[in-house]
C-alpha cells in the first residue's frame, strides 16, 4: 500500500515528466500513444474494408473467424521478438507497429463484419429494391446501422493495443514500459508501480472515451427503438416518446 502511494506520488512529481538522461514520462506517454495510433491506423486500413466486404457479401466469413481466432492465440511477446529481430524494417517505427496491428485486427475485423451482417436483411433488400447502388447500400444503410458494433470492435482493438504497446520498450522504443522495466532491472519498484498505474489509467480513459463514442454512433431512431420496431411491426399498440398514444393505422 505504501509502495502504491509512493508510485502515485512519483507520478505526480513534475520532475519525472521532464526528459533527463532518459526520456521522461511525457515522452514515454507520447511514444505509447504514437505507437498505438500508428498500429490502429494500420489495423483499420486492413480490417475495416475486409470486414465490410465480408459482411456485405456474406462470403469468407468462415475464413475470417478462423484467422481471427488463430491470430488471437498468437503469443504477443513472441510475435514482437520475431518481427523486431527477424525483420530489419525501414522506417524503424514499423517494428512495433506490425505486431500491434496484427493484434488489433481480429477484434476490429470481427466487429466490422458482425456490425454489417447484423443489419436487418429486409431493410437492405428494400434499399436495393428502391434503386440504391451497392455502394449506396453500404454507405447509407449498412455502415450507419452497423456503426455501434464497428466502433465496439475498434474499442476492443484500441484497448488491447494501448496496453500492449508497453512491450515495445523491450526493444528500445520509448513507451511507458521504460519506467516499468526499471523495476526488474535495477530494483526501482516505485517507477514500476507508477508506470503501471499510468498505463492502467490511460487504457481506462481511452476505453471510456470509446464507450461514449460507441453510444453516440448509434443512429437516431435506432438507439431508442430497437425493440419497438418488432412490436410495431406486429401492429401492437405503442406509445410515442412524448407519451402520447399513437392510434393504429392513422
Amino acid at each position: 500500500m505504501i509502495l502504491l502511494l509512493q508510485g502515485v506520488a512519483w507520478l505526480l512529481d513534475p520532475a519525472n515528466w521532464a526528459d533527463s538522461a532518459t526520456p521522461g514520462l511525457l515522452s514515454q506517454l507520447l511514444g505509447q500513444l504514437g505507437i498505438t495510433l500508428a498500429s490502429i491506423v494500420v489495423a483499420v486500413v486492413v480490417a475495416v474494408p475486409l470486414g465490410v466486404l465480408i459482411g456485405h457479401t456474406g462470403r469468407g466469413r468462415l475464413v475470417a473467424i478462423v484467422a481471427s481466432n488463430a491470430a488471437r492465440a498468437l503469443p504477443t511477446l513472441g510475435l514482437f521478438s520475431v518481427v523486431v529481430i527477424a525483420l530489419t524494417l525501414d522506417p524503424q517505427w514499423l517494428a512495433p507497429v506490425i505486431p500491434l496491428a496484427l493484434l488489433g485486427i481480429p477484434p476490429l475485423l470481427a466487429g466490422t463484419y458482425a456490425g454489417i451482417e447484423a443489419v436487418d436483411g429486409q431493410v437492405v433488400d428494400a434499399a436495393r429494391a428502391m434503386g440504391m447502388t451497392e455502394w449506396q447500400v453500404l454507405l447509407r444503410v449498412e455502415i450507419p446501422l452497423g456503426a455501434p458494433l464497428i466502433v465496439g470492435g475498434l474499442r476492443a482493438a484500441v484497448l488491447q493495443t494501448v496496453a500492449t504497446a508497453t512491450l515495445a520498450s523491450f526493444y528500445g522504443f520509448t513507451t511507458i514500459g521504460n519506467s516499468i522495466l526499471l523495476g526488474p532491472d535495477s530494483n526501482q519498484y516505485i517507477p514500476m508501480i507508477g508506470g503501471s498505474l499510468l498505463v492502467t489509467v490511460l487504457a481506462l480513459a481511452i476505453d471510456g472515451l470509446f464507450a461514449l463514442l460507441q453510444r453516440s454512433s448509434a443512429p437516431r431512431g435506432v438507439s431508442r427503438g430497437a425493440r419497438r420496431t418488432t412490436n410495431a411491426a406486429r401492429g401492437r399498440f405503442i406509445t410515442s416518446p412524448a407519451g402520447t398514444p399513437i392510434s393504429r393505422g392513422n
Binding site: 433488400d125 428502391m130 434503386g131 427503438g225 410495431a232 393504429r248 393505422g249
Partner: protein, 302 residues
C-alpha cells in the same frame, strides 16, 4: 405501362425451381393480383419485374422493351416497391424515408422533403409524423409510409409484396380501402402479391391464381373466377368447394333482414329482404347487405 412475361423460368442456384414457363400479360393502369400459397413463386415473379431476381430463361417486357437490357438500378428507381414490414430505413425519419429515392435521382433536398409531406397527406398520414422515426410508428402507419415511399418518384408501376400481411385485420381493411381510393385517382399499373384470396378479389381487376412452380391455375376478373372456377384447385382455393361461397338464407329470421349462412353453417352476414322478398341488384339500387367479416365481402358476386 403494360408488363409481359414470356415463358419465364427461374431456377435458383440451390436447384429449386420457383417458376417454370410462366407467361402473363399485365394490363396498364389496372391492379393485377398474384395470389397463391407459400412457395408458389409469386414473390419471385414480382421481384423479376424490377430485376431483383433475373429469370433463368424467358423474357420480361415493359411496354414492349425487354428489361434484361435495362440496368437494374435505373429500372428500380422508376418502379415503386412496397414490401411487408415496410422495409423502412430505421435510421431515417419518415420524411427522409419517403424522400430517399427522389434524392437518389438528384431532386434537391428541400423539394424532395416538400414532396414527401404532400405524399404523407396523400396516403392519409398526419404531417406531424414526418419527423418521427419508423420505430415510433404503428404497423399500419409504417405501411402507409411504405406506400408513400413507393409513390415518391411518381412511378408508372407499383409493385406490392404482401404489403398488408403483417397488420391486424382492422388496419388491413383500412389500408385496403385506402389503396383502392388511391388507385382510383392514380391509375398506376399495380402488381400486388398476396396469399389472401379475399384481398385478391377485393383489390384486383385481374386476379392470377398460382399453383406450385408459378403455374397459372386461372386468370380472370374476380367475378369470372368466382362464377367459373377453372378446376378443382381453384374451386378449393377460393373456398367454393367447401361451400364458403354458396350462401343460403336462414329461415325464421325476424324483420326485414335475413341471415345468410354458408354450407358449413357459418353465419356469413345478413341481407335485406323486405317482406321476405329479395331485391335483385339493379343499376340504381342494390340490396343492402352486411357482412359479419370482410371474408364474405365478395360473396354477393358469386
Amino acid at each position: 405501362m403494360a408488363i409481359e412475361f414470356r415463358h419465364v423460368s427461374k431456377t435458383f442456384p440451390d436447384g429449386t425451381t420457383a417458376v417454370e414457363d410462366f407467361s402473363l400479360s399485365i394490363p396498364s393502369h389496372e391492379t393485377t393480383v398474384l395470389v397463391g400459397s407459400s412457395g408458389c413463386g409469386k414473390t419471385t415473379l414480382l421481384r423479376m419485374i424490377n430485376r431483383m431476381v433475373d429469370p433463368s430463361s424467358g423474357s420480361i417486357l415493359i411496354d414492349g422493351e425487354d428489361i434484361s437490357g435495362i440496368p437494374p438500378v435505373g429500372l428500380r428507381r422508376r418502379i415503386g416497391y412496397v414490401m411487408q414490414n415496410s422495409g423502412l430505413l430505421p435510421h431515417r425519419t419518415v420524411a427522409d424515408n419517403v424522400a430517399t429515392v427522389p434524392m437518389l435521382t438528384g431532386v434537391p433536398k428541400r423539394k424532395a422533403r416538400e414532396d414527401a409531406l404532400a405524399l404523407l397527406d396523400r396516403v392519409g398520414l398526419d404531417r406531424g409524423l414526418a419527423k418521427r422515426y419508423p420505430a415510433q410508428l404503428s404497423g399500419g402507419q409504417q405501411q402507409r409510409v411504405g406506400v408513400a415511399r413507393g409513390l415518391a418518384v411518381d412511378p408508372n408501376i407499383l409493385l406490392m409484396d404482401e404489403p398488408f400481411g403483417a397488420v391486424d385485420p382492422i388496419v388491413r381493411d383500412e389500408l385496403q380501402q385506402e389503396l383502392l381510393r388511391l388507385q382510383g385517382s392514380l391509375g398506376k399499373t399495380v402488381v400486388f402479391v398476396t396469399h389472401d384470396i379475399d384481398e385478391a378479389f377485393l383489390l384486383g381487376n385481374q386476379v392470377v391464381i398460382l399453383q406450385r412452380g408459378g403455374r397459372v391455375a386461372q386468370v380472370g376478373s374476380p367475378k369470372e373466377i368466382l362464377a367459373n372456377p377453372a378446376n378443382d384447385f381453384v374451386a378449393d382455393f377460393i373456398g367454393a368447394k367447401r361451400g364458403k361461397r354458396r350462401l343460403t338464407a336462414e329461415a325464421g329470421a325476424s324483420g326485414d333482414e335475413v341471415l345468410l349462412v354458408d354450407a358449413a353453417g357459418y353465419a356469413a352476414g345478413v341481407i335485406t329482404a323486405p317482406g321476405g322478398r329479395l331485391e335483385l341488384a339493379t343499376a340504381g339500387s342494390s340490396p343492402k347487405s352486411r357482412s359479419v367479416s370482410n371474408k364474405t365481402d365478395q360473396a354477393g358476386d358469386a
